[in-house]
């Protein structure tokens, strides 16, 4: 099975600080790490390879230092990886990101399965996986919590978590899935993997290399504009009702009507 795993470098949540006046993240001095859900995506790819054989490639769009994320993925056991990197990619929203990633994946060749984490913990959109599937013209199953290979790897049976429960879905490959943290426990790197990662040649592909139109990438290709970012305020109130249960119910109904809820 030929598997591509899309990952993203995000700020390390344990070292992040906020600029309270501007309401933004302080990026200076913050280490970058692989998005937590993406470890589950990598593990899903490696576990499938262990089970049915094949090759796991990993790709990311980001600045040149995103090579560190690829090296870490190689230390975990993926076969190879690339960084799609170009100044023109800066400021990309999910529309531009999925365009860029789809171009890169098509450049790399045909894959049986593309795996993404459910969402990145910095933007929290959960749009890149599904958007990428549309761009690639393949089916998409999001929020995968369990996975089984059917028909020698031509099909997958997936448990997709929903708000009210779960669906069991069968999908023919090629397909794209996004995975939850509950799918697996990511493995630790190996010494041989770490040594291989250190020496690995990690190609950097530019917009030109993947044949992307500059009007569709980065800020230029992004209709989304973030106007402001604010910290939410919590103005919830608490009130204890007293008296017999019947009186409390009457009082509660009165208050809910007053608040326009009933």
């Amino acid at each position: 099975m030929k598997i591509a795993v899309c990952i993203k470098q995000v700020p390390d949540a344990s070292t992040v600080r906020f600029d309270k006046e501007k309401g933004t993240l302080v990026r200076e001095g913050v280490e970058s790490v692989i998005n937590p859900f993406d470890y589950n995506a990598i593990e899903a790819g490696l576990a499938l390879k262990d089970q049915v054989g094949g090759e796991v490639s990993v790709l990311t769009m980001g600045p040149p230092q995103a090579q560190d994320a690829i090296r870490e993925a190689i230390s975990l056991g993926v076969d190879n990886g690339i960084v799609v990197s170009d100044r023109a990619f800066a400021g990309a929203d999910t529309l531009a990101t999925t365009y860029t990633l789809a171009k890169a994946i098509n450049k790399l060749g045909a894959f049986d399965l593309v795996i993404c984490g459910k969402q990145a913990v910095d933007g929290d959109t959960a749009q890149v996986g599904p958007g990428l599937a549309v761009r690639l013209g393949i089916p998409c199953v999001t929020c995968v919590d369990d996975l089984e290979v059917l028909e020698d790897g031509r099909k997958l049976r997936l448990k997709r978590m929903c708000e009210q429960g779960y669906d069991i879905v069968e999908v023919e490959l090629p397909a794209l899935i996004t995975v939850l943290a509950s799918l697996n426990i990511p493995r630790v790197p190996s010494l041989k993997g770490k040594m291989r990662a250190k020496k690995a040649d990690i190609p950097m592909l530019s917009a030109e290399d993947i044949g992307a139109e500059t009007s569709k990438v980065g800020l230029a290709g992004s209709p989304t504009q973030v106007a402001t970012t604010t910290v939410p305020t919590f103005d919830a109130k608490r009130e204890m009702l007293e008296g017999e249960p019947e009186e409390q119910v009457d009082a509660l109904i009165g208050k809910l009507k007053e608040a326009g809820i009933l």
Binding site: R187, V188, P189, S190, L191, K192, G193, K194, M195, K198
Partner: protein, 388 residues
């Protein structure tokens, strides 16, 4: 943090990073539960196998990474910061594997070491018996030749990973009247006819490690399972222990470091008499002694490990020192850590009481620290006699 520069190679730094990551992500979150339930840490052994750590000390031709004593020490030091029951389970497999590595034939190495390196099989070392502890020459377990077989009888006691390991290196008497020169080493496999496991011990510390009896009742093993020559068993055991002892010292360093880390963290937070207790000289001096003795122990372990890796043949005295000092330091430091944490330190909600319970075994197993002093003292006597 100012740190001594031990001039580690890039590969050695990788070993440190990797084992530290495993300790933080896989060992520390479960150590209290493993201890409470006396649960064998199979999940962590699988993680260590996946990380290639069982391959560390095994030559490349047998599927290993070809590392030496230093690499092994660096790995166990970091793992010991998490839990020394887990670390001992890992290190015991090397202890059991050394006799095959040092004295096995090429066929024996080809047969056993690749699975050991891949972490598919654990090895256990069987020397101790009920009446043969420090006095290993008092072994009563016997092996008798019978055609194409050796027949083993007797019981080994307190064998680390007994019942869990697949491969056992066993020392048994083949010529009782020759004393220590009548001992021979053998490889026994789990499932061999007449080989079974006795009771699992309940221990003060090191509770996640399995410590069990091995029972040989007319256990028949093929002739080619002999390790080295007949009568070489005692030498094999001593060489194995010599090679393993710096690793025990490294476990002591890691454990003591973990106890210091907890102590400093606590002393900076705990407020009494209106200030953090680290501002009191009584606490500062304890912490200073702990930190200094740990660094001295680490420097000794690394220096001896490197001496062994550089090819020194006569290192019994040095490896005894590298076991003795760091493990005494570990006992002292973990005891002081409990003292600094006071009542909290005595409670199971904090990790230092387990560290103190666990530390005690380091002064006992793989040769008590009294035996280490004997080894060092006897070597001094010999060395100075030569100088005349």
């Amino acid at each position: 943090m100012s740190k001594v520069n031990y001039f580690l190679t890039e590969e050695q730094e990788m070993i440190v990073d990797l084992t530290r990551q495993i300790t933080e992500e896989k060992i520390i979150p479960v150590r209290a539960e493993l201890d409470r339930n006396e649960e064998f840490p199979w999940d962590i052994m699988k993680d260590l196998a996946q990380a290639d750590l069982f391959a560390l000390y095994i030559p490349e031709e047998y599927g290993g990474l070809g590392g030496g004593t230093m690499e092994n020490c660096l790995a166990v030091e970091q793992l010991a910061r998490g839990c020394i029951a887990v670390t001992t389970t890992f290190a015991a497999s090397a202890l059991g594997g050394y006799p095959i590595l040092l004295f096995g034939t090429d066929e024996q190495k080809q047969k056993y070491l690749p699975d050991v390196a891949a972490g598919k099989k654990l090895v256990a070392f069987g020397l101790t018996e009920a009446n043969a502890g420090s006095d290993a020459a008092g072994i009563q377990c016997t092996a008798v030749e019978d055609g194409d077989y050796w027949v083993l009888n007797g019981t080994k006691q307190w064998i680390t990973s007994g019942g869990e390991a697949e491969i056992y290196t066993i020392i048994a008497m083949t010529d009782r009247n020759k004393g220590a020169r009548g001992a021979t080493a053998f490889i026994v496999e789990k499932g061999d006819e007449g080989f079974s496991f006795g009771k699992k011990e309940k221990k003060m510390g090191l509770r996640a490690s399995s410590t069990r009896e091995l029972v040989f009742n007319d256990c028949r093993i093929p002739k080619d399972r002999i390790l080295g020559r007949r009568g070489q068993g005692f030498i094999i055991a001593m060489r194995t222990l010599d090679l393993a002892r710096p690793g025990i010292g490294a476990i002591g360093v890691g454990l003591a470091q973990a106890a210091l880390d907890e102590s400093v963290k606590y002393a900076r937070q705990r407020v009494q008499f209106g200030q953090p207790i680290i501002s009191f000289q009584a606490i500062q001096h304890m912490l200073a002694d702990m930190a200094t003795s740990i660094e001295a122990a680490r420097a000794l372990v690394y220096a001896v490990a490197r001496t062994i890796d550089a090819g020194e043949k006569n290192f019994s005295k040095l490896s005894a020192m590298a076991k003795l000092f760091p493990t005494d330091v570990a006992m002292k430091v973990t005891t002081d850590a409990v003292q600094i944490l006071g009542g909290y330190g005595y409670m199971q909600d904090y990790p230092v009481e387990k560290m103190m319970r666990d530390a005690k075994i380091l002064q006992i197993y793989e040769g008590t620290n009294q035996i280490q002093r004997n080894v060092i003292g006897q070597a001094l006597n010999k060395e100075y006699a030569k100088e005349g």
